[in-house]
Symmetry: C3
Subunit: 669 residues, 3 copies
Amino acid sequence: MIYGCAWYPEHWPESHWAQDLKLMREARMNMVRIAEFAWSSIEPEEGRYELDWIERAIEAAAAEGFAVVLGTPSAAPPAWLTERYPDVFAVGPSGIRRKPGSRCAYAPASATYRRFGAAVAKAMAKRFGNHRSVIGWQIDNEYKSVSHDDDTRAQFQQWLARKYGSLAELNRRWCTVYWSQEFSAWTQIPLPVRTADTFPDEHYHPALQLEWKRFQSYLYRGFQAAQIDAIRAHADARQRVTHNFMGFFDLFDHYEVAADLDFVSWDSYVPLSRPDPFANGASHDLMRGLKRRNFWLMETQPGFVNWRPANNTLDPGEVRTLAWHAIGHGADAVAYWQWRSALNSQEQYHGTILAADGTPRPIYSELAALGAELEKIAPVLEGSDPQPSIGLLHSYDSRWALDIQRHNQAFDPLLQMVEWYRPLRELGHDVEIVHPDAALDAFQLIVAPSLHIVEPSMVVALHAFVARGGHLVLGPRTGVKDVDNALFPMRGPGPLGELSPARVVEFYVLDETIAIQGSAGCGRARIWADWLEPVSAGADVLLRYEQAGTWVDGKAAAITHTLGKGRVTLLGTWLDHATMLSLMRRVVGWSGLGAGSPCGEPPTGVEICRRVKGADEVWIAINHGREHHTLRFNEPMKDLLGGAQGAALGLGALSVLVLQRAATFAHQL
Amino acid sequence: MIYGCAWYPEHWPESHWAQDLKLMREARMNMVRIAEFAWSSIEPEEGRYELDWIERAIEAAAAEGFAVVLGTPSAAPPAWLTERYPDVFAVGPSGIRRKPGSRCAYAPASATYRRFGAAVAKAMAKRFGNHRSVIGWQIDNEYKSVSHDDDTRAQFQQWLARKYGSLAELNRRWCTVYWSQEFSAWTQIPLPVRTADTFPDEHYHPALQLEWKRFQSYLYRGFQAAQIDAIRAHADARQRVTHNFMGFFDLFDHYEVAADLDFVSWDSYVPLSRPDPFANGASHDLMRGLKRRNFWLMETQPGFVNWRPANNTLDPGEVRTLAWHAIGHGADAVAYWQWRSALNSQEQYHGTILAADGTPRPIYSELAALGAELEKIAPVLEGSDPQPSIGLLHSYDSRWALDIQRHNQAFDPLLQMVEWYRPLRELGHDVEIVHPDAALDAFQLIVAPSLHIVEPSMVVALHAFVARGGHLVLGPRTGVKDVDNALFPMRGPGPLGELSPARVVEFYVLDETIAIQGSAGCGRARIWADWLEPVSAGADVLLRYEQAGTWVDGKAAAITHTLGKGRVTLLGTWLDHATMLSLMRRVVGWSGLGAGSPCGEPPTGVEICRRVKGADEVWIAINHGREHHTLRFNEPMKDLLGGAQGAALGLGALSVLVLQRAATFAHQL
Amino acid sequence: MIYGCAWYPEHWPESHWAQDLKLMREARMNMVRIAEFAWSSIEPEEGRYELDWIERAIEAAAAEGFAVVLGTPSAAPPAWLTERYPDVFAVGPSGIRRKPGSRCAYAPASATYRRFGAAVAKAMAKRFGNHRSVIGWQIDNEYKSVSHDDDTRAQFQQWLARKYGSLAELNRRWCTVYWSQEFSAWTQIPLPVRTADTFPDEHYHPALQLEWKRFQSYLYRGFQAAQIDAIRAHADARQRVTHNFMGFFDLFDHYEVAADLDFVSWDSYVPLSRPDPFANGASHDLMRGLKRRNFWLMETQPGFVNWRPANNTLDPGEVRTLAWHAIGHGADAVAYWQWRSALNSQEQYHGTILAADGTPRPIYSELAALGAELEKIAPVLEGSDPQPSIGLLHSYDSRWALDIQRHNQAFDPLLQMVEWYRPLRELGHDVEIVHPDAALDAFQLIVAPSLHIVEPSMVVALHAFVARGGHLVLGPRTGVKDVDNALFPMRGPGPLGELSPARVVEFYVLDETIAIQGSAGCGRARIWADWLEPVSAGADVLLRYEQAGTWVDGKAAAITHTLGKGRVTLLGTWLDHATMLSLMRRVVGWSGLGAGSPCGEPPTGVEICRRVKGADEVWIAINHGREHHTLRFNEPMKDLLGGAQGAALGLGALSVLVLQRAATFAHQL
């Protein structure tokens, strides 16, 4: 288990380094990430590289037993570079070019910028590509820049030209005859961005908007590849390359950008006042799903951040539970940002481990205790990973298409995904969040809350899944759009119609909730109402809308049918949480999945995560709440952390158990 | 009665057309509007016109018995045009030029754009100006673009120069000595627009702001005239020219722009979650008042739209009641937007009549039933129109002046108009919304909620109105400003002082309500409080402000007096609805108007509209609510729709009666 | 006592002037301010000055016994100037240059603009610098413009170069190695401004932001000096120079800009629906503290303004109480804006004293009665001023630094200042708001709510203050930053640690309140929680945070200790008002201050202000509330306004007493 932090030795005199590393070591840390953002220290003027200080920092860390991850510094270009080559700066939608004084301000399409980024990565790789203590590389930091400069626009137009082959093809697929938008030259194609002067009712073409998102994926993949190639040419295979993503962020298709990485890492910060273990757990699972392998938590907060309206802190114990939560979802590394704040500059108020005076803050004790735990448990977790039987389908294409035309502003596909994910977790089941084109062999149950854009390959895969006995659950607005963001010339669920227990007669936005009831429960429908018409008498209507003078009076809202060995369920609305939980309990039952956890449905606020290695299973039980609970198991369990054993174990507020079957544990001894 | 929809044959293969027209015909439609937005199909390259497809579409429609309205396509310039002549694009306040990818993005002042718009209209008129099935033309679509380009600014300055004759005159009337704003060259006059860099406290001159609004009217009148002239040169007189306005929208003076049209049409969409029959009814009456003749409902929603935050649908029955509502207010045509959505492009989610698969949506049945009703009733309504005895004065000048300086942000002159309009409708009376310079002969009662800017002609007309026995009701802030948006050097109501029962000692903004009571009722004053001082002992104070330690303690808030044969009432505040209704009941009584409808004051939620042809009267009774009511009449009535007859008739939720006196009806048989 | 108004004779024919002055005189006014904004009337074309009309206006005023203050007109450049020299216009953050049609739109750094401003001031001073009736000059009006043009940026870079000497020094002190922000040329330094294209997460360096604020102070001091020098060269010493500031406005360091003025004046407008006597009183005291001398109220509202969302009026009596309130806080002049509105232009709806018809509005009577009172009391107040024993430390540096990084958006340093100020006033004590570098000899108690940036001079002064027996009360976040906005490498309160009863172990943002209790009261902590650790056993913990599972469970929140002859108290949080009042009551008690007012703690809503001249004291008692109170004194008092006398005097709603000890009063007779 990797445990560490972000360390910026260039901010301090070298005489401070030994004390820093000693305190880290005492907290049982074993990894530091360095050099991220250090471009002006690495290349103080064009072409002159100063790497000795990095070597000294690596050696100092190595002397204390630390592994090192090197960040390429391209997220923060030095002033000499942007002054000499101003075109590397991104341009905003209103035409204003970025300027020095912040970070991540570059145009990812800029050939010049890519060249400089690759060159500095190459210089670093030549020097450290075989260093025994350097175990990996992080490319750039949290890709997030978008540019609207002329060169980027031209590249976008050329990319479209390559993709569509001819304007006739693009005009046809986009139906640009609408509003006389037919393009007669590639150069006419605009960027779909709102400027300071955009009218409220000025809308961009939905296909153009979707392609613009896809183009960002293309840009970042290319941007990243330039640096990976430079590193790979000089680094030994032992050194693995990653990027630190940002969870739910959707500027680009993360599946595509992650494809060229050796492993995925991400930066998890609590976006609201209090952490939400379901949204956060889904973030972890989404990141794990990018490559369907364990990931690193490359950055997380040692208490609080500095960018929220009110930067309150995690409570005592909560930093620890969130670390175990990440591990439960497949993290093989936990690292904090940052060790100590520089005395000046933008992030002075972000939480750190040391205070401005260089001595430990209160959080240090919690982190040191956590370090000791991780050191103890690491051998058990080594090589294990979560292996869920439930898959949740997620694609950026569908998310983007829905976000481009929500029709009801409350129809947030990300929120919807979490609302479908949460009851499955509450029932005690692990969930894998995967792309619809991923192999689906591992799953008995697949839920697809918003498979809005459906491609032929998905139709084939889902037919196969059901044919082999799987249970497929579809949500509202399924199968409405094709890959061009055009409407299918069919009623919903479009090309999935042959699988579906119903067709969608009509869709309606709900601005007020309406009552719903049936065998699956009794509650309220919200946000959206698909009017479902059963395709056969054998379909079982699970929920109906109430009689209230609306278009969906008494119509089906959820429906299921068996199809050969399999089953398909269609839900046409958003439900209140209790009804959704009730429905998912039935869904899980039909799917032949047993109890998800050894204690069945865990108590409210308690999360059970499973990691598996071969025949061995470890469960991490986390109480995210403030109430004490007793977990009752179907056989005696052993808590590897505290040592307690039995068929019932206590779990205090904000606390953690790491469980093995007592029998297994005895066996291992 | 015209009944139809917007049809875009260019979005589909011609093989689909016949099925479309057949389904329309089965819904009893008899009109299609085509060619709007089709510029790139009509003129695929500069100067080359392709009109054969339009001819084929017209012929296909004609074959099914449809009349056709042709839209000129200037709301959506093709890409070749804007690429070759980029100056035709509008420029935003911050200087950003529009680009391809939306619509209505042109500079209405552009001579180039006007030339191209006229040329395409001419080509169409030469080809179709005598076609038997083409009954009219719609110029452009929903004029809404504003441009801030240099040419527009120069034209604005020249327009001011022509209007004022000299800078000395402008400086004097605008009092530009204030803040040293005196202009010494016409070119110094800025556009009064907020940019991305405008300070919160940066204010433009109120006269400049008002003239900028007036200049938009001038621009659109000229823009429109270029196309009308091109059509008129080639079209026979049977073909009538219109534009589809947007109800309460106030970019320009609609009276001025409508002056050059043969008839007015407008596009009515429900702006909020649920339709408000009073605000919507006022929209209809405002549009009818533009030319004081019946109008067309050129577009309305078959259920829902796609541009609101949550695009909920009208309930079953509501599309029908809103159609009858329009007819009750003077619509001679009802048409829906749109028939079917193109599979791609911006408006995929807007309500349509056919679904994406080309078959009827649920709304189709309601529209077909409505079509049958309209076909049945049309002969009765032919040639009839509403003929109200109550006039409500409305001018864009006053609305703009108030909006430019609301003083209390809650003082929304449009909201105020609806608040005065609503009680009159609730009392069962039709209302005509007219410009203060219109002939006022038809009226016994004139209400003027916010005649803020008063011109000499209005003073003369209102003196004459009162002199012949009319009752004039004035609202707060009457007569404060002259035509230059300058304060009158008099206490309110300024030049109407000789008519008024009071002078305004002082005006106050109310940020909290205060109690009010008197012979006209007892309630709360809101938003504004004019302190009224009776001009004579004969004036009758109807309402007084409470004693509460404010400046208006015990002062008059509403006051009335007779003046010769007539009467003038002045209300100095905004009232709660119940008190306003109480006051208006008295006002109507004084005005010698009998019961407005044959059932007196209709039940809550029920609207009674009258249409008159010679001596014949038809009443349309619409229940906009969800409760059943029984209407009791002063003599037996016959429902032409359902056939029931009697002195009491039931009216269910969301339903409609079309009534004639049973005696008249018998006579007609 | 100066009493008057803003008068703009250039807006009217000269024939109106006599009537205006007669009505002013009847209201007992004795001063008019003229010529502000009159540049186009003074210099109608470049270099041609027309001053005769000003002379005639001065003579007309003088004939009625008025003193005159002349405003230099530079806040409103004439159109000929900005047309010929467009670079004088400010440029917004997004690069949009201002244009004619508003005011205060200049770049204060512009050498051209300064030259023209000085020239017109010189012309006026040459003509009127010895006029017997001209008693003073107001430079410009409410400095508020900021420009982001290239010249301003270059001047900023040069100013930094002069200040820091070398880039190496700047890079070191700003720690620009962070994010590779190291500057290699002065020209790389950006302006820290948000544009139309700024990303939400784009942050500027805190030192850069702070220096940009300081640079504005430099710019305005220079801008102002050019005009002062021009005037001083020609005006006799009797004519005193001022500027009308805007209270809490913080574009620049008012101490620095006020340093070159003879006296301070300011414009007091009620920012919210109702006046807050504590926030407003603090504004007065802040303005008085700029030079620690009495000030002028140069503008205040005769009822209402025109720039708020809802411009409600002050109630009857409230204009008067606010005038006495200003005098109580040290105003030696009260003047209203404005006498009468021009009939056109931007401020038509602002409250005035005459109506548009040139006759008195209702407020005139209240102002005339006030004028009579002031005339009567003036001799008693002549030469007196407030002489508080309590100082409140305030610096723009600390305010700016906190605002740049609030960490909790609710941590508004201005609000915090008012929350500390209010209980002291409620206890009956006057407060002087002063810069930390001011001489502190007058004080027994100093409160420093947010001394965030601490300079060495302040450490010395506060040590000396405590050493001589003073009581120093420090607030949360004290001593966190140095003059470069860098963190001190120490725990809080940083360099004040040797004085402090505690060190700050850690700081936390509170997004919810937590309970707090101790000997100083029992209530809620809000917004911020410093975890205080006593430095010695002798320290007395006054308040502790509750046990609630947070990091500050049971930790000290407020603590005090004696230090030699003095005392230091540290409060680490924000309190609810009641607890803050309870704490301050103890603080005042420890400080050896007796009752602040002759009636002890005044009733709720009643404010007692003291003015002192030698041994004579006058108290102004103001009832800002709507309830009647009886004030009970420790000895008989005489009300100089109404004449009542006794040890108990009634004070009605919105009324005022001007009190002397009855004995003193008798003595004076």
